[in-house]
Symmetry: C2
Subunit: 322 residues, 2 copies
Amino acid sequence: MRQAGRYLPEYRETRAKAGSFLNLCYSPALAEEVTLQPIRRYGFDASILFSDILVVPDGLGQTVGFKEGEGPVLDPITTPEGLDKLDLSRVVKHLEPVYETVKRLTKSLPEETTLIGFAGAPWTVATYMVGGRGSPDQGAAKAWAYKEPQEFQRLIDILTDATILHLSAQVDAGVEVLQIFDTWAGSLPETQFRKFAIEPVKRIVSSLKAKYPHVPVIGFPRGAGPLVLDYIKETGIQGVSLDTGMSLTWAADEVQKLACVQGNLDPLLLVAGGGEMRNAINNILKTLEKRPFIFNLGHGIVPQTPPEHVAELVKLVRNYGK
Amino acid sequence: MRQAGRYLPEYRETRAKAGSFLNLCYSPALAEEVTLQPIRRYGFDASILFSDILVVPDGLGQTVGFKEGEGPVLDPITTPEGLDKLDLSRVVKHLEPVYETVKRLTKSLPEETTLIGFAGAPWTVATYMVGGRGSPDQGAAKAWAYKEPQEFQRLIDILTDATILHLSAQVDAGVEVLQIFDTWAGSLPETQFRKFAIEPVKRIVSSLKAKYPHVPVIGFPRGAGPLVLDYIKETGIQGVSLDTGMSLTWAADEVQKLACVQGNLDPLLLVAGGGEMRNAINNILKTLEKRPFIFNLGHGIVPQTPPEHVAELVKLVRNYGK
């Protein structure tokens, strides 16, 4: 999950130097710095590249911006003509600064710290590309997907190809693990979940496995519920992130048989801290410790998180069972 | 699920006469009229009372309003002192117009049409009472629940009592089935899901069952994923609504053994219409027909729904298998 962010004063300082948010993503020295900040503070076992899932549409040539306090704003694409303008051949070239950041990190990260690269899953990225911004119901993307499923499939296919290129370039530059974020997977009906969430990720994973058999891929089909089982089996991912709402007991019984799981502390418990946070951390560890497991949040860290709560979390996890 | 609404021109006409949204809920003649409108048009097997989940905090004495295009706005309650002001003894008296609407409907609805009463589940209603409005992450309610779980439990307890009173009064006035909407259940970690979603609904159901053993209760723990099984077993509900993202195949295998299910057409498929909508309707019917099942949406109907798509849906469901 996201490690860097506004909850850290040192991040806010670097962020202020960058101008726009995308400029921060595209400035290797600054992106390297904010990637390293949480590692310096907390010594996590793994570091996740500082970047954004919307660099892919930006790389494809869609206009992408970030408004302070509002989030991403894109020039929405809702027609086949809009799709015609997307240019796969410019993705890797345009995102060169991201790979440069990875190269720097392979040198500046402590040797024992794993570097994770990532991308958004095609469905989730498509919801922003079609809607032009985040939305509670992914209504714009669904409208297109439901009315013109072939046209929408073309967008998914372009994004699948772009994601393969982007993740491959990250591996070539030095990331050791990949994660694919499908934040909005859970809002799809089963039929469309299989078509727009499982199928593209299956193609991405199989393409990556062919080239990089040694690089594990972690999936995050947020809100997929019981469909997470088919998601793992069909996509071929080795690891899966559990969202905050996912039942730990069910995950221990059903999910851990299939993949290494990570999760799923509510980021808002990390904001609250105290006894409820400590109980939740212990409960996660106790329930999932018997099989391959990575302690993690159930979603990205939020700006109002007190940094000392993260320090307490790390201490509790490291001292567990000692 | 919600049947009446802005997608119907006759609703918009009645709505315009009512002034505020709450005034529409509290004017028996107008609330009766908008409840009847979808039944007149489509002849559904069941009718759901026109009301709102936020009449309960309004009944408890919290200031509740609805801003056009913005949704509910409440004076947030975030302290024990705020809780002290909530008054259980005024709920049933304040909501008398709602029960009057029910009484009218028992006379004006076609005899073969079942009348469903409803309430929001305590957790979901609490998210609005504490946050003052809808929020994507239920952050305000979670902040309180995680920092001061005993205080927050008091709010849940008050809401549980108020919900029992409100649902009982609806049955006394003539509703034949009850539904409890827990729209935000899925965002809770398992521990809090059990404490704030399952436990209060268990208490509501057991209290209602003692008084009205003949009245079925339908639960809707939206986004609960595999926890829906424990939700059914522990609360004692007879029916369960499946959200749009719930796997139909999993529900057929696991959920239908435990309860009558209803669902789960994506309301946005009903907006889109056409082949994808028809395929989805047939798929739901085919997958769930073998055991007790009520055709329904996965969430409430949305304003941009073309009324003719609803007519087509009804025709498809009624002609299925003929």
